[in-house]
């Protein structure tokens, strides 16, 4: 065999060259970028939770599917020159993670919080909006305790012992126990119940992200007379897009799209920009 190889060097080299090319060819198709797949497919598959989240993805009063996340998805689709298909199977935010890992969806843009637990499984873009944690304080209870605005930091940062209303089994139930260890944390089944207790004056405070807090004021117009929003500027909740952990090129691409888009970061302005 070896004598044959030496005697027919040119033929051997040719055969090796052909095999290498075939192998390279296979390697290329095995590593086809998700971008190419999407373009070949003709549509983008975007993952969002089943229930609407105003102002990120929701049906507006004109019946149109609108919101910040919808605009981001549309931008990516238009840049790739494809259509969009929305996958709304996930019943919870955590439910979106397996979908992107299993490549059922191309990416998640769904008011998704960037947490370390999730980051072990998926790749996150840079956050495109950063929420801060916030509270709604009862103005009347503040006035009765003689606490004016400049005294609020002292009240909250030093052994706050008042009531804090939160949603049960939410991240804010956990944050409340960590940030306000001496406070009386009261958990309710739904956000509506928490808000009700806050408005009717049963609680000293209510705790969630600044968007939901400001939404309470917006949706219950007369509540600003009795409830004071307070933002904790050093406690953050970053929102980002999630992709499959192997898709580095796609991740870089999405980061560029986000960078080039104008995204309203101000929560108050966001609420007026997208009309219910």
């Amino acid at each position: 065999m070896s004598i044959w190889l030496v005697k027919n060097k040119v033929k051997v080299l040719l055969i090796m060259f052909v095999f290498q090319s075939i192998q390279l060819g296979f390697a290329q198709s095995g590593n086809t970028s998700i971008i190419e797949k999407i373009q070949q497919r003709g549509y983008l598959i975007v993952g969002m939770t089943a229930s609407d989240q105003y102002p990120f993805y929701y049906i507006n009063s004109l019946g149109k599917f609108d919101g910040l996340d919808v605009d981001i998805a549309k931008k990516v689709a238009s840049k790739l020159e494809v259509d969009i298909q929305y996958n709304r199977e996930a019943r919870s935010f955590n439910g979106l993670i397996p979908l992107v890992v299993n490549r059922d969806i191309d990416f998640v843009v769904s008011k998704l919080s960037r947490t370390l637990a999730r980051a072990k499984l998926v790749n996150y873009t840079e956050p495109y909006i950063i929420f801060r944690q916030a509270l709604l304080l009862n103005r009347i209870k503040l006035a009765q305790a003689g606490i004016s605005e400049h005294k609020i930091p002292t009240l909250l940062a030093n052994n706050f012992t008042g009531d804090i209303g939160v949603i049960e089994n939410s991240s804010y139930e956990r944050y409340a126990k960590i940030n306000f260890p001496s406070a009386n944390v009261i958990s309710y089944h739904t956000w509506e119940q928490v808000v009700e207790a806050g408005i009717t004056g049963q609680l000293f405070s209510v705790y969630r992200d600044e968007l939901e807090i400001l939404k309470v004021i917006k949706e219950n117009p007369s509540s600003n007379l009795t409830l004071k929003p307070v933002v904790l500027s050093d406690q953050t909740d970053p929102i980002a897009i999630a992709v499959h952990p192997a898709e580095h090129h796609f991740l870089a691409y999405l980061n560029i799209v986000l960078d080039e888009m104008y995204i309203e970061k101000d929560i108050k302005k966001l609420l007026t920009l997208y009309k219910q």
Binding site: R139, S148, E149, P153, A157, L214, P221, L225, S233, D234
Partner: protein, 435 residues
């Protein structure tokens, strides 16, 4: 003479009223012009403001100097203080009573929403850092801190920083001390100082008179720019408070006028006619010190009162008689209590009556929206969130301020006239007769 008739036309109240109507029409019909004219209105207000401190200082010093040195005036001091206290508490109690009966703070759900929305539009959301170490700042505001705040270490610093209360404290102390310097035979020093300040007073008061002569033109600019800029919705929601204030404030002025005019030759309408010009000046300029000069002239020329008496009593009254503010603060307290469904107790009502008078006193010499902050001493002890109330008050202040100033000027003028009528026996003049 042409000049005299021009002056007569310009200073006629009807001219000013016509000017206001014209300004209103311009502002309504041509928004842009109205906004452009606002600069001239501001210029005018600044000119008047320029005269406030000189008049205030010179008037207070000379008036108090006289009170201490002149025996006949000394007798009046007790009566003046009594009248001030009496009227202050009457206005406070009446204001609280009217607020209690007519309920300005009972807003419909819709009005509450509008008010609430305005508050969130006008105020930034409060940001704080949870993890910075915050020191317990013992910022308890005691009375002693207030006194420290109000006594000027450097009078020239107080003058240049427009720190009105400190300037007042200085003027009062200076005037009292000046009057107490014993008159040595032949020594003219004390008289010289009093004459110096009297001259300053008459110079600036003349300046005011000339400035007021062009009031009609300024009114066209001021009113047109305000109509062009007005924001209607919050005004309508707090309309009840504004309406109650205007109706009952005017009623108080009418009652005072009736009280003064009883048994006089000119009667109610005569007195009203005399009072019309100073009231109009107060209403349109919102400057009680500038209006004081006009009121003093009316008391001297129209009512024919003793000049020394008028010159001495009016500054003191104008500075300490904050009746418009007292009445408004009383109504506002009830408004806030009703808005926040605070339970009223008898003790709270007594506290309110006194606190409102004190708050009114703390606005001495100053005017306008800067004085609204003193209401915190009324609101905080009764557990009303003052932050939100303040926002509402600041927005409606342009509408309320004219009547507040007019009430102050009108009531003080009436008190001065009443005291003169009942206690000054030297000249025995009846109102309307020439001496």
């Amino acid at each position: 003479m042409f000049k005299n008739s021009v002056i007569r036309v310009l200073t006629n109240p009807m001219t000013s009223i016509l000017a206001m109507v014209l300004g209103g029409l311009i502002g309504f019909a041509n928004n842009e012009l109205g906004v452009k004219l606002s600069v001239y209105g501001e210029m005018y207000q600044l000119l008047l403001k320029m005269t406030v401190i000189p008049i205030l200082v010179s008037a207070v010093i000379t008036s108090l100097g006289r009170f201490v040195s002149d025996y006949s005036m000394k007798k009046m001091l007790g009566k003046i203080v009594f009248a001030l206290v009496l009227f202050s508490f009457i206005y406070s109690i009446v204001g609280i009573g009217i607020g209690y009966i007519f309920r300005p703070g009972d807003l419909s759900e819709e009005d509450r929403s509008i008010v609430s929305e305005q508050i969130s539009l006008q105020s930034e959301v409060f940001n704080m850092e949870l993890e910075t170490i915050v020191e317990e700042s013992s910022q308890q505001k005691e009375i002693i801190d207030f006194l420290l705040f109000v006594i000027p270490a450097n009078i020239f610093e107080a003058l240049s920083e427009n720190h009105i209360l400190a300037i007042l404290v200085f003027s009062i102390l200076f005037g009292l001390a000046l009057g107490a310097v014993p008159k040595k035979k032949g020594q003219k020093i004390q008289s010289f100082v009093i004459i110096f300040f009297l001259e300053i007073y008459s110079v600036f008061s003349n300046m005011v008179k000339y400035i007021i002569m062009v009031l009609p033109f300024a009114l066209i600019c001021i009113v047109s720019s305000e109509i062009a800029n007005s924001g209607v919705s919050l005004v309508l929601s707090s309309g009840k408070l504004i309406a109650i204030f205007y109706i009952f404030g005017t009623l108080l002025m009418i009652i005072n006028t009736i009280f003064l005019s009883m048994g006089t030759k000119v009667g109610f309408f005569g007195v009203t006619k005399y009072m019309l010009y100073p009231s109009l000046v107060a209403f349109t300029t919102r400057n009680s010190i500038a209006s004081m000069s006009i009121a003093i002239d009316v008391l001297k020329d129209k009512f024919k009162f003793n000049h020394k008496y008028v010159q001495s009593t009016m500054p003191l009254l104008m500075v300490l008689g904050r009746f418009g503010n007292i009445f408004y603060f009383a109504l506002v307290s009830m408004f806030a209590i009703q808005l926040y469904y605070v339970q009223l107790s008898a003790g709270m009502i007594v506290f309110l009556c006194i606190a409102v008078v004190l708050a009114g006193l703390a606005t001495s010499g100053a005017n306008g929206f800067a004085t609204l902050g003193v209401l915190s001493i009324v609101m905080e002890p009764i557990g009303v969130p003052f932050e939100t109330i303040l926002v509402i008050l600041l927005i409606i202040d342009t509408i309320v301020d004219p009547l507040r100033t007019t009430l102050i000027v009108h009531t003080n003028t009436i008190i001065s006239a009443l005291l003169h009528r009942f206690f000054i026996k030297e000249t025995e003049t009846k109102i309307g007769e020439s001496s």
